[in-house]
């Protein structure tokens, strides 16, 4: 037992107290800024592997962006990736970053269904469905609940059965072979329920968008409550996105000091 206590003592304080304002180490590629610098727009747009860049004026759709950073390497004056990991919204258009746009991406509380705030504000149980996901988003969702990010402290958990869940988190571009299991899982969740898309692949199909092995009909049938951009989503992006959705007062009361 003393060994165990010693090991625990040696870990020190691991959790991130303030998940909303914590700084991520290094050169994380988060929300980009597009400057008004004059560049060859056609070359810039042609560079993008997932056609996330539009021209006249230049914009980047973070729902399509794979965050590879190639555009900012080749056009460092035009595109600058900041370390801002707040990349979640309930309005799909907000993921499109325009020239000169430096506003943070947020969840618009006015468009959130009322029952979400009322029912899930302090407890949200989620069922995750990987539908062709490459195991990177799944990996980061698992990391969201390790001792550092500790998602459970906010009352958000992943549960084993859709019957116990308040909503589903979809990762991956939704393969044809997963289309039916996804649909069945969604119907097994009791009403009211939320749908969250985590990662570029889920939001737009990513690099697989035009693959004939996909079936994304599910997404046009149901209302999507939250889009979380990233390739894969960073745990802090996920945590802030989900809390932004379910908490009416937003993120102000998130800080947990111990």
């Amino acid at each position: 037992m003393f060994d165990n206590l010693k090991i625990m003592w040696h870990q020190g304080k691991q959790f991130i107290p303030d998940v909303t304002n914590a700084k991520v180490p290094g050169i994380f590629r988060g929300r980009p800024i597009i400057t008004i610098a004059d560049v060859d727009e056609a070359t810039l747009a042609d560079l993008c592997p997932t056609h996330a860049i539009s021209t006249q004026p230049v914009s980047i759709d973070l729902g399509k962006c794979t965050f590879c950073g190639e555009c900012s390497v080749q056009f460092p004056d035009k595109i600058i990736f900041t370390t801002d990991y707040h990349l979640s919204t309930n309005v799909r258009e907000k993921l499109i970053i325009h020239e000169g746009d430096e506003n943070p991406i947020t969840v618009d509380p006015k468009v959130v269904r009322k029952e979400i705030h009322r029912l899930f504000g302090s407890s949200l149980k989620l069922r995750q469905v990987s539908a062709g996901g490459d195991n990177s988003c799944e990996w980061e969702l698992n990391a969201s609940n390790n001792v550092q990010f500790d998602l459970s402290r906010f009352g958000v958990d992943f549960v084993a059965s859709p019957r116990h869940a308040d909503g589903i988190v979809i990762t991956g571009p939704i393969s044809e072979n997963m289309a039916e299991p996804l649909e069945r899982c969604y119907h097994a969740v009791p009403n009211p329920k939320v749908i969250i898309l985590a990662g570029t692949d889920a939001i737009s199909g990513g690099i697989f968008a035009d693959s004939p092995a996909l079936n994304r009909d599910f997404l046009s049938k149901y209302h999507i409550d939250l889009y979380i951009a990233g390739n894969p989503v960073h745990p802090l992006t996920f945590i802030n996105g989900v809390l932004g959705l379910v908490r009416k007062k937003g993120l102000r009361r998130l800080r947990t000091d111990f």
């Binding site: 090991i7 040696h10 950073g69 996901g133 992943f158 084993a160 072979n177 997963m178 697989f208 092995a213």
Partner: protein
């Protein structure tokens, strides 16, 4: 001059397609079966077909770990011929022939397990649906079946497991995959830009980003006749070993979780974070997406990063050693790991497993030493081999490989090379060329093959994840174990669904 049986090449060597000897099917089969007969240093690394002039061209690649060579031979068949299978004589070929059968409808007269493999969208017989997979079943009043999946209880990828149990004891497990199929190999041919293909390689398996992308860029540079810069070899090797440390640490956490050892789960779980965060400090992404590029690197490795990595290891190692010493001495943990999920030497040899799933049972398969690439040509790598083939052996391999990788990286950090400024160089694939590339990722051997046509366009891009071989080892491992031990067995293998389904 007589027709040679095969052409013998090195890892990452490009040759003209016409240099690969062609045989009739019977000779082709005999050559490859005989290559494997009685020689444990050889195994089949890739065997695939593609359509060429209304016929199906089969290409078989056998790796010889002692000679450090790859033997490649080929054969043309018609899709209406009935063929005698390789698998009837050597089970190494089981999955490969199932794939060829599924894609082209080739009929095998004596394949023992000719079931659908991944229900690819371009499969030959579209009437075969994933919901009607023909499971093996036994009519008995004493046995019952347990179906799990495709959606699992944890946050993991989909796949279906069908157990046949006698009470609590598993008699048989059949693993049905294909839910993750995204048509990657076809997209490789269809998408023409290098960055598109690199992005595809990064998405083959998101937990092996460095492994698959390194295999791709090594192959691509060879296919374009480009000599890899030594600084790039350095960066790829560093990234590969960092990925190994990160995932192995996470796997130890998961193994602890599955035997309800909460402390181990928490400590290993948090120890993974500084390693993946270092990847982010280096390349801007915790899973190293965007880091590995053909002919260049957008994020040169610097002496500051080297210093930083040493600091991270200095903090990591004492905590890792402390919890590891505890875990591997803890009677309740050992009793869950020892003699659980055993696969014997003869079984792994018959299946043809690779990577950790071979080394756990005394079969020495490690591409870093047998077919060295990148910077491994100057590291004298000694593979870590265990003999018990149980969960304990798989946990031990992870523990020792983490330590070994740290030693390699500490050594590498003393000689960080000069990096050039990232610059796009023109890379054009050579016409009528065949290349095979292998990398030992954390799970085991990754093998990619590419063939170009007379214009230098890709005819086929073939990907093989180590899981391709190793899923069968998991099915064997759980036999005669309690069904409650399935999670820990599964976690100790940690195989890829999307790497298999592509």
């Amino acid at each position: 001059m007589t027709n040679p049986e095969y052409i013998s090449i090195f890892n990452n060597q490009s040759i003209l397609v016409k240099e690969i000897p062609e045989h009739n099917y019977t000779a082709f089969k005999d050559i490859n079966i005989n290559l494997l007969k009685g020689n444990t240093a050889r195994h089949c690394i890739n065997y695939f077909g593609y359509i060429l002039a209304d016929k199906i061209k089969l290409i078989c690649c056998i790796a010889d770990d002692e000679a450090h060579k790859i033997y490649v031979s080929s054969c043309f068949v018609n899709d209406n011929e009935e063929l005698s299978s390789f698998t009837a004589q050597n089970h190494n070929f089981e999955k490969f022939e199932r794939e060829i059968h599924e894609n082209f409808g080739l009929k095998y007269s004596n394949h023992p397990w000719l079931k659908p493999m991944r229900f690819a969208y371009n499969r030959d017989n579209k009437n075969k649906k994933i919901e009607n997979y023909p499971f093996y079943s036994v009519k008995s009043e004493e046995l019952h079946e347990v179906g799990v999946g495709p959606i699992h209880a944890g946050v993991i990828e989909p796949g279906h497991f069908r157990f046949i149990c006698n009470g609590e004891q598993i008699m048989h497990l059949e693993i049905q995959l294909g839910y993750q199929h995204r048509g990657i190999e076809q997209l490789f041919v269809r998408k023409k830009k290098l960055l598109e293909r690199t992005t595809l390689a990064e998405n083959i398996a998101g937990d092996t980003v460095v492994g698959h992308t390194t295999t791709f860029v090594n192959l691509w540079e060879s296919l374009c006749g480009h000599t890899t810069d030594s600084s790039l070899n350095f960066a790829r090797t560093v990234a590969l070993e960092l990925e190994r440390i990160a995932i192995h640490t996470g796997d130890l956490a998961a193994i602890c979780a599955d035997m309800a050892y909460q402390l181990g789960n928490s400590v290993y779980g948090r120890l993974r974070t500084p390693i993946v965060n270092f990847l982010q400090e280096w390349g801007g992404n915790r899973l190293a997406k965007g880091l590995i590029r053909a002919g260049k690197i957008n994020f040169p490795f610097t002496n500051e990063l080297a210093k930083r990595l040493i600091e991270i290891f200095d903090a990591y190692e004492p905590d890792f050693d402390e919890i590891t010493e505890k875990l591997f001495m803890l009677p309740s943990a050992l009793s869950r790991m020892e003699k659980t999920g055993v696969v014997t030497y003869n079984e792994v040899l018959e299946i043809g497993t690779v990577g950790m799933s071979a080394r756990m049972s005394g079969l020495n398969r490690d591409i870093r030493y047998s077919h060295p690439y990148n910077h491994y040509t100057s590291i004298k790598h000694t593979p870590i081999i265990k003999n018990n083939g149980d969960v304990y052996a798989r946990a031990q391999i992870r523990k020792e490989e983490i330590k070994q990788s740290i030693i390699y990286l500490r050594e590498l950090m003393t000689k960080v090379p000069e990096f050039k400024k990232p610059e796009n160089i023109s890379l054009n694939p050579m016409p009528d060329t065949f290349v095979i590339s292998m990398v030992e990722a954390w799970r085991g051997e990754i093998c990619h093959c590419a063939i170009t046509n007379e214009n230098g366009d890709l005819l086929i891009y073939k990907i093989k994840d180590p899981s391709h071989h190793n899923w069968m080892a998991l099915a064997q491992a759980v036999r005669n174990n309690d069904i409650s031990d399935f999670p820990i067995c599964n976690k100790s293998f940690n195989l890829s669904y999307c790497g298999h389904d592509l």
